[in-house]
Amino acid sequence: MLAALVGFLGDFDLAEDAAQEAFAIAAERWPREGIPANPGGWLLATARNRAIDRIRRQRTLAEKTKLLARTGEVRESVDDEIEETPFRDERLELIFTCCHPALASDAQVALTLRALCGMGTEQIAHAFLVPEATMAQRLVRAKRKIKDAGIPFRIPPAHLLPDRLSAVLAVVYLIFNEHYDGRGEEHDGPGERLGAQAIRLGAALAELMPDEPEVHGLLALMLLHDSRRGARIRDGELVLLADQDRALWDRTQIRAGRAALGRALALYGSQAGGIYTLQAAIAAEHAHDRSDWPRIAALYGQLARVSRSPVVELNRAVALAEIEGPAAGLRAIDGLELDGYQYLHATRADFLRRLGRHREARVAYERAHELARSEPERRFLQRRLDEL
């Protein structure tokens, strides 16, 4: 509903106010007069009319002239057929506006959750561990920038689409990971899990842009990761993939993830997949009863070529260690510039432990422990230290 209103009005605040007003009117009128035949359409039309009334009252304000020019064109139809006017689904335009690279990354995330997931400012602030006033200000600033800087409300033209789509996917994945990295487990609170919000956004994107392979790839990746959520923490403790109780994996999500991955791969055809599709392919391999390590190492190799990320090299080293042993893994991570990354040290510690080099393993575990962000992770590393 908000997407349609923003699209129609070209103004975030006006759309939000109008939507709120429409809900208030409904709350007052529906119990008395009964629920209209098309409640969604009624709300939208009411909100739209309220917004137009307000614009008319403010007509003298020069800054609204552009807006007036737009609403003027459709005024007739609004007045005539309140519930008949079809509304276009403008969620896609909205998400491209919210994820515009001219907005700060944290503002992109907050706006997307606010505008597309309908989360309240308080909920978003809670999820990102910032005071509500800070989040409110972040949203106000972002909305003001959209208006003042002329950030367009539209699906970007073909020559801009690849860059802009990857910005959108990055925001969705950021929302997903905020939930998933272990911190999320602790502060999701009563609001809906951010992971579920991200998956819903991903599914909506896949529906709205069915020909974009990476959109399906990202959805597959999120579904496959999320399917293991129930098995990842046991009694508050982190459980590694190899030790997880597979009965706790969500089979429905795995099936949906595989289906999305299939669509991504079919769209890519013989082309190499993008970063999300390749990661999803790896996650799908891990969802088998036995992991096919040579295939996983090969996929990480492809991913390393696309992303040139040392984190990917680190993961490839883990797969390599499964095939050729911890010494090969250790050689592969030598020289990776990831000193501030806890998983480098945790992985290195694990290789050293398996090689019986306990003294060096201890130093590496201690470094990982220092860098760990969540309590379950810290406890896991502490257990490993105690076992040495």
């Binding site: 020069a62 515009h100 001219a102 003042d148 800087a149 002329g150 950030i151 367009p152 970007p156 801009l160």
Partner: protein, 113 residues
């Protein structure tokens, strides 16, 4: 919408290292940008060493040598443009050679009354 494109020049040594051929190619690019529809006006500025900064305190004018802000990348010129939206402004800004030679282009919307 109207935007100001503030062009921050790369360090002058970048320009000095370029060959004659590269320099004339870049000049041609600037000339082509000047011909782009939507350009309302613009100018290249003399280097910041030529700048004078003016302040008025209690009615008396104080002029000092040098630019208002000393930065590594100095404001080297500007355009005032009128285009559809920020995306169009960014596309135009991205064509400015300074942007890929270590400088930058700042896109600022203009207050319209």
């Amino acid at each position: 919408m109207k935007y100001m494109l503030n062009v921050y020049s790369p360090n002058s040594s970048v320009w000095e290292r370029l060959s004659e051929h590269e320099r004339s190619a870049i000049s041609a690019e600037y000339a082509a940008i000047n011909e782009t529809p939507g350009i309302l006006g613009g100018a290249q500025l003399q280097p910041p060493t030529s700048a004078t900064t003016v302040r008025v305190h209690d009615g008396s004018t104080l002029a000092t040598d040098g630019p208002f802000i000393e930065t590594k990348e100095a404001l080297g010129g500007y355009w005032l443009i009128e285009v559809e939206d920020l995306d169009a402004a960014i596309e135009l800004a991205a064509r400015v050679p300074a942007a890929r030679l270590g400088g930058a282009v700042e896109v600022r919307p203009v207050v319209e009354r």
